[in-house]
Point group: C3
Chain length 141, copies 3
């Protein structure tokens, strides 16, 4: 069960919350208990799970990454987005979320964010859902 | 096959080894060959696989994270734990470990650590085990 | 479906592209739609997906990691490779890649790199491929 969503980012750097879109896809697939895999097929964007209650957390994450990996540092890659590649490598391009009762089983404060480091662009997220069964119950994966 | 364990952390920051608890859960599930997924449903804690022979490695990891993301930095999130959110985002909240012969197939020096960045608290880890079969052998996942 | 590949690294630090070896293993397994898991069973090496078109990106990633986690920093772990453990913890030791039409469904610019931080050594990568089916089609995982 694989689906794809597209996200249009609007700034060079942003954390775009995609929890609702992913939830909608997962719920449409009818998997009661399972695991949801998200994969970003880009090299200057990543994916993060973190707090979605206070948007300040996202600003803080981007500011710290910008301090650790400055945009105007000295880099060998000369396309002006070396920092974006490095940030994507640090953050990672994949997450997995448990699925329970047909939907994402995120923690109370967790949201899913596409991490854009070289936008604005249209980005893709590949969603795969695996059912998980109890042993020997016939629905086991 | 999904289970949950709880870990009581005892300091603001620590790497708490949970290898034995996870191993016990995995062995109880009776999966010969598979994959074990661990998910931390929190936004100020993460999960790391690294050396468990010398506890100094854990101290070093926490000290470097504390230097890169200082607790008393300037942050927009005003709850006093912005650094913890950022560290959790860098470290990640999920790992996968191969299961072989009914148990975790970790490397010789690898242990699993809950990374507490805003404790002490009770933390949860969601464990999911997927069987993996050889193609066409009837137990394939 | 689990296989193992071995990579001989040739420097203390390097990003060794392993995309072709992984692709070959995946194609040999005959899984049409699925997910490919890569696991590095070491504590001073990790795994990264990032750009493979311009090798400068790899140099930049290693240089930034070297600046954030200097080799000659003050560490408690006294084996001379504390930086390597910390880099491995930051980068992570596992990735997942969608499989489509029998092969890796990487993005246009993505390659898979073993991240060596304490070489030269022989390193192992454990590859597991899970089939993914559409619900109720009999091949579902």
């Amino acid at each position: 069960m694989r689906r794809e969503i597209r996200i249009r980012t609007v700034a060079r750097e942003s954390l775009e919350e995609i929890t609702a879109q992913v939830q909608q896809v997962v719920q449409s697939l009818g998997v009661d208990v399972g695991l949801c895999h998200l994969f970003v097929p880009h090299t200057t964007a990543g994916i993060i799970i973190n707090e979605n209650a206070d948007p300040s957390v996202c600003r803080d994450i981007l500011e710290v990454l910008g301090r650790l990996v400055p945009r105007d540092g000295r880099y060998h890659h000369l396309e002006g987005n070396a920092d974006a590649h490095i940030k994507a490598a640090l953050v990672g391009n994949t997450v997995w979320i448990p699925v329970d009762r047909g939907g994402l089983a995120l923690g109370r404060w967790q949201g899913i964010f596409l991490a854009e480091f070289d936008g604005p662009r249209e980005r893709r997220v590949i969603i795969t859902v695996l059912p998980v069964g109890e042993k020997g119950d016939g629905s086991s994966a």
